[in-house]
């Protein structure tokens, strides 16, 4: 199953000049990356549903929230991955960003008699030349500005991972959390604190406000019964979760952050991607298209120029203006 096709555009025609074993390896690497990507997006969708259920106690809104969060994470993750997908073949990278070195030898040449077949032949020759001269990936993309952009990318991914981590932990311990929320609801100390009228204070103190709020959050609204977590508040749910699972929460946060960062690390550091044949062939394809377009437009320009010179008498127009 070619999972990478719809995300990264990996397909057979790109690998026509590549060994079978290399091609298979590339398919495997990109399918793996695509699978990781789909799993992370699925995690985000599930997280959205969990938050939606806690906040709204309504399946339709919860699913809507899941789709929304999934869409946001899909766009963000794909952005982060694609920003790191550049070939490590130095000449190809340079030619892709600035093709003037390829065009330079042809400036001033006569292309008016160039046929389409000749153009294709020239492009193919250039493609073969570039392929042959770019065997080993050796380009280091490091630049100081890259540190800041990398930092932003990592922060984006970590924010997403935190959102998912909290939802996964709620999902993991939801039955225990509900038991605790029932304990809180029935706790006599909390009730006394919330509704104690013997206090000497004329106005409720902060603790009393907190006690009332806590009881309010765990009290079910008859019009909107609890569906998943027996609390109307995500904050209270997190408070219970944090207090109850302690350091295990940090461990889970780190594991889920690792899960989100791994595809990013792979794309940046693994030679299967930056130094791989897929990005090399894609870069060659881009260069050939641009090169072909250059030759065809040069030919058209020269033909139009010749036509103007032959068919229009500009000298007479200039003289008539002088009169």
């Amino acid at each position: 199953m070619n999972l990478g096709k719809h995300i990264f555009g990996i397909h057979e025609s790109i690998f026509t000049e590549v060994d079978e074993s290399v091609k298979n390896r590339q398919y495997w690497a990109y399918n793996l990356l695509a699978l990781m990507f789909y799993i992370l997006v699925a995690g985000c969708v599930i997280s959205g549903v969990v938050y939606g259920l806690v906040l709204f106690n309504n399946w339709i809104i919860a699913i809507g929230m899941g789709v929304l969060l999934g869409f946001i994470s899909f766009v963000l993750l794909i952005l982060v991955l694609f920003l790191n997908m550049t070939t490590n073949h130095r000449d190809l990278y340079m030619n892709m960003t600035n093709m003037s070195s390829i065009f330079e030898p042809y400036l001033g040449q006569d292309f008016s008699n160039l046929s389409d077949a000749d153009a294709v032949k020239m492009v193919k020759e250039q493609k073969v030349l570039l392929r042959e001269t770019n065997h080993t990936p050796s380009f280091d993309h490091f630049h100081m500005s890259g540190v800041i952009t990398s930092l932003i990318k990592v922060c984006l991914v970590l924010i997403l991972s935190c959102v998912v981590a909290n939802a996964v932990e709620i999902l993991m311990f939801h039955s225990k959390i509900n038991q605790t929320l029932h304990l809180i609801k029935d706790n006599p100390t909390l009730k006394e604190a919330a509704y104690n009228n013997d206090s000497t204070a004329m106005y409720p103190e902060n603790n009393q406000i907190l006690a009332k709020w806590t009881l309010d959050m765990v009290t079910e609204d008859p019009n909107s019964p609890f569906l998943f977590i027996d609390s109307k508040s995500i904050l209270l749910t997190h408070k219970v979760l944090n207090l109850s699972i302690g350091n295990f929460k940090y461990l889970m946060d780190v594991l889920i952050a690792l899960l989100f960062l791994l595809p990013l690390i792979l794309v940046r550091k693994s030679k299967e991607y930056g130094g791989g044949e897929f990005l090399k062939e894609s870069a060659l394809l881009d260069i050939s298209i641009s090169y072909y377009a250059f030759l065809i437009t040069q030919r058209s320009c020269q033909k139009i120029k010749q036509k103007i010179e032959n068919d229009y008498d500009y000298n007479s127009l200039v003289k008539s203006l002088e009169k």
């Binding site: 706790n187 004329m202 106005y203 603790n207 408070k239 109850s244 699972i245 302690g246």
Partner: protein, 292 residues
């Protein structure tokens, strides 16, 4: 190349192992040991703190609260220009005891705390009657504080000096004569040892005092009513005002001080009748809580 492939293979394994652990943890088993409700119980126990605290009775104070044998009157015009009148009970020798308690103050010990702890007992009936008025009039949080502070601000400023600083005297902020009463607004009282501050109960009887006496009385009355207030002091200004922490989001744009934990207290100048909460007339950037 082999090494490069290993990096992808290892990362791949890490991803699936981590994912496997997370999915495994989603199963409804094995998690009892990870979940501990004791912390929740500890958190719930913190709510016990809001039970009414027993009123501390100062040392040597053997007079029961309901065994009062004399009354005093506090009469003032509030911020709405209405005259207020409260007749309140207190121990007959409360004034003498407040004075002797003040004289016990020593350096390195909070004189404010010492006077507050004792005088709040003497002022219980006054506080009780003020509370009754606030409830009867259904005053909101800010109006209730204004009502209490107006009873202090009504009495004009009097400079308070220790024995080694005689009256009349000239200060950087004005000239003060020998009249130790609130009538002129330029009065000066000498011999108020050890730190030139009257106790809250003394102010209620003598109706005279300067910045810290006023802040301390306002603190005593409001704190006992349940307001979150503090006595604020500034070393650079050599001044004291009342600090008010608001239990709601504030729209006030005024100077504030903080306690040792950074809690914000808005500053209320009590030395003049016209100054209300919200008027940003307190200068200085080093306001700290002296009593909270």
């Amino acid at each position: 190349m082999k090494r490069e492939r290993n990096f992808l293979n290892i990362s791949n394994w890490i991803f699936w192992i981590v994912l496997g652990i997370i999915l495994f943890m989603l199963l409804p088993y094995f998690k009892n040991g990870l979940y501990n409700e004791n912390e929740i119980e500890s958190w719930l126990a913190t709510f016990e703190k809001i039970k009414p605290e027993p009123k501390p009775v100062p040392e040597n104070d053997t007079i029961p609260f309901d065994n009062k044998d004399t009354t005093s009157i506090l009469k003032w015009r509030d911020f709405e220009n209405n005259w207020q009148y409260i007749k309140y009970k207190h121990p007959k020798d409360a004034f003498d005891r407040a004075e002797s308690n003040r004289l016990k103050g020593e350096p390195n010990y909070s004189i404010y705390s010492l006077m507050y702890e004792q005088d709040k007992v003497f002022l219980q009936d006054l506080i009780h009657q003020m509370k009754k008025h606030i409830k009867r009039k259904n005053l909101d949080y800010m109006d209730a504080m204004s009502y209490v502070c107006s009873s202090i601000q009504f009495f004009k400023y009097t400079l308070i000096n220790t024995s080694d600083k005689p009256c009349p005297c000239e200060e950087s902020f004005g000239t003060y004569d020998q009249d130790c009463s609130y009538k002129t607004g330029r009065g000066c009282c000498s011999g108020v040892d050890p730190f030139a501050v009257y106790s809250p109960f003394e102010f209620c009887i003598k109706h005279t005092g300067d910045c810290d006496t006023r802040s301390l009385l306002a603190f005593t009355l409001l704190k006992e009513m349940g307001f979150d207030v503090a006595v604020m002091v500034s070393e650079s200004e050599g001044h004291s005002v009342l600090g008010v922490s608001l239990p709601f989001n504030s729209h006030y744009r005024m100077n504030f001080g903080t306690n040792e934990f950074g809690k914000k207290y808005y500053l209320w100048e009590l030395t003049d009748e016209d100054w209300r909460f919200g008027i940003d007339n307190v200068k200085g950037a080093d306001w700290k809580t002296a009593l909270q």
